[in-house]
Symmetry: C2
Subunit: 96 residues, 2 copies
């Protein structure tokens, strides 16, 4: 049986919440960050802090929606399955 895995969802309020995201990444847990209710200035600083964290931990940050990001530690592989849409946006002549 596969081991139990954890995904954390965080809606940061202030820059201080960045630490909570970083702690979960250090524990090798993926984190979904929802900035919909975050002050724009704080969101920008959190993104910078978490970019530093994921860089240090060899992880990655992916935008998964408007104001929603997925931060993945190095043990988590993130796969986009809808490459077609992006290709068709860049190369409309390939559009079905």
């Amino acid at each position: 049986m596969a081991a139990q895995m954890k995904v954390i969802i965080i809606e940061p309020k202030t820059f201080d919440d960045a630490q909570q995201v970083a702690n979960n990444l250090r524990e090798r847990k993926p984190v979904v960050i929802n900035f919909e209710h975050t002050d724009a200035e704080a969101a920008k600083r959190i993104i910078d802090f978490i970019s530093g964290t994921t860089y240090a931990l060899n992880g990655e940050i992916k935008k998964v929606g408007h104001n929603v990001f997925l931060c993945a530690p190095s043990n988590v592989n993130v796969t986009y399955t809808e490459e077609e849409r992006k290709v068709s946006a860049e190369m409309p002549w390939l559009k079905k």
Copy 2:
């Protein structure tokens, strides 16, 4: 060392893409669904289909942002860390 884990990100275009979400859930992989570019009617049907899938597999669906959902199979535990905000929205007299 922890096993490599996968998180799938899908931006569905049509109802048929629901099957792709379901296949990943059956393979015990969490899926982030971004409905920002999905027709509203198709999104509704996909949500219903995936609700059926997660119910069958004892998993869960969580809204993680406007038009963004996280679908987790039963081996994935989803944790919200920001309960305070919800409480303060419902009970504003508790607000800091």
